[in-house]
């Protein structure tokens, strides 16, 4: 059963995640996002090149967390799986606090 592993990013505020976000890993993902909301830096990086899939609830947790960021703060989501971009575009268009980066 694939899990979700999370590592601190060297030199930047944020995490690198690897695995999948789904029903069985949702709690880990939500924990990451709750911690991120509590941080102070303007930008919090979510490096997701090692994440192969995010389901709708996982995208929803990200949108909800982004909605809780204080003004001026944002998530930079790096290289997310296509499913996450597609879900955000369809269900949370124009969500503030999320910047998707493909590099």
């Amino acid at each position: 059963m694939p899990g979700l592993a999370v590592f601190p990013l060297a030199g930047q505020r944020g995490v690198r995640a690897a695995g999948e976000v789904g029903l069985t890993t949702r709690a880990i993902w939500e924990g990451v996002l709750e911690q991120a909301v509590r941080e102070d830096d303007d930008v919090y990086y979510l490096e997701l090149s090692g994440v192969t899939f995010v389901d709708v609830a996982g995208a929803g947790a990200l949108a909800a967390a982004a909605g809780q960021l204080r003004d001026g703060r944002r998530f930079v989501v790096r290289r997310p799986p296509p499913a996450l971009r597609r879900t955000l575009d369809l269900l949370w268009p124009g969500q503030t606090g999320i910047e998707v980066s493909t590099s």
Binding site: G22, V56, G60, A63, G67, P82, T87
Partner: protein, 317 residues
């Protein structure tokens, strides 16, 4: 449960949902243009979502006024009938200022809709009444009565509380209005397909189920966004089975004409007839899985019974 669930087909007022019967282009324009112009003259938001050929007719006849109307090709925006309420009708209506009547021409049924699509079309037309009752909106649905088979015209009487007959400008109430009957009559069993790839899943095998579906979808010719969409739909439907549908289910994937079909069968009861057809408020957590499936699939069919729920979705290859 909310009233919308327990009494879905109560009084519609102030919502109006007439069918417009037409036999040729002239009758089409005679019926649709005054509806659009009356709305524009009154400062009401107007949208037209009809098949491309009819859309061009209306656009050309409107001339400069077309710029003030939201125009959508229903063959694209409403290819999946389950997408029309959340993705077209409510998407437009909800974006307008409150209090002002919203006018929409929506033509979800056309000659050439397949036998597989049609039950979803008829249910969609019936469910518009439940989705819009009490809202200040008029949705007028043109029906090409010269080309559509008789049973589809009969269904139009059952799904619309009023009908505008060819050459008439007046909507007449009709006694045949019975939207609940249409919803249940087209709740047709979806018999298991032989020779489909079949995978029984539980919570621990959700990820495996998705990989199985994606592998088979790719083998059957899906690629790119369509394959990503198959992955999303499979994940949402199988997760629903685990969370709401008794903890397990059966996934099947097969090819059918130009489509890859994905089906999830479980022992859950899907009581909400508008499940997956309501836009979800931004602040609400959860409850968007079936909505997403409706937005991305080329067709979604659902069968509900006392013993379980089957959801089948089609993706063009």
């Amino acid at each position: 449960m909310t009233a919308a669930v327990t009494e879905p087909f109560g009084p519609l007022d102030p919502f109006a949902h007439p069918a417009l019967f037409y036999r040729d282009e002239q009758e089409y324009l005679d019926g649709t243009l005054p509806f659009v112009h009356d709305g524009l003259d009154a400062g009401e938001p107007v949208a037209v979502a009809v098949p491309g050929k009819n859309l061009a007719l209306i656009r050309d006849a409107l001339g400069d006024a077309a710029g003030a109307v939201r125009l959508l090709d229903m063959r694209e925006a409403g290819r999946n009938p389950g997408r029309i309420i959340p993705g077209v009708l409510r998407a437009f209506a909800d974006a307008q200022p409150a209090g002002r009547r919203v006018r929409i021409i929506g033509e979800p049924v056309w000659a050439g809709r397949s036998d597989t699509e049609y039950p979803a079309c008829a249910q969609h037309e019936a469910l518009i009444n439940a989705a819009f009752r009490g809202r200040t909106a008029t949705i007028m649905c043109p029906y090409d009565v010269a080309r559509l088979p008789e049973h589809m015209v009969a269904d139009a009487y059952a799904t619309h509380p009023a009908v505008i007959h060819p050459g008439s400008r007046t909507a007449r109430d009709n006694d045949a209005y019975a939207p609940e009957d249409v919803v249940s009559r087209y709740n047709e069993p979806l018999a298991p397909v032989q020779d489909a790839l079949t995978f029984s899943f539980v919570s621990d095998s959700l990820s495996h189920a998705r990989h199985v579906a994606v592998g088979e979808g790719a083998r059957l010719g899906l690629a790119g966004v369509k394959l990503d969409d198959l992955a999303l739909a499979t994940a949402e439907l199988t997760t629903n089975s685990v969370v709401h549908g008794g903890g397990s289910g059966v996934l099947r994937v097969w090819a059918e004409d130009g489509y890859v079909v994905c089906e999830v069968r479980d022992e859950g009861q899907l009581a909400d007839i508008l499940a997956g057809r309501r836009p979800v408020p931004r602040e609400q957590r959860g409850g968007r899985g079936v909505l997403l499936v409706n937005l991305i699939a080329d067709l979604v069919r659902v069968h509900r019974s006392d013993t379980g729920t089957t959801v089948r979705c089609w993706f063009a290859r």
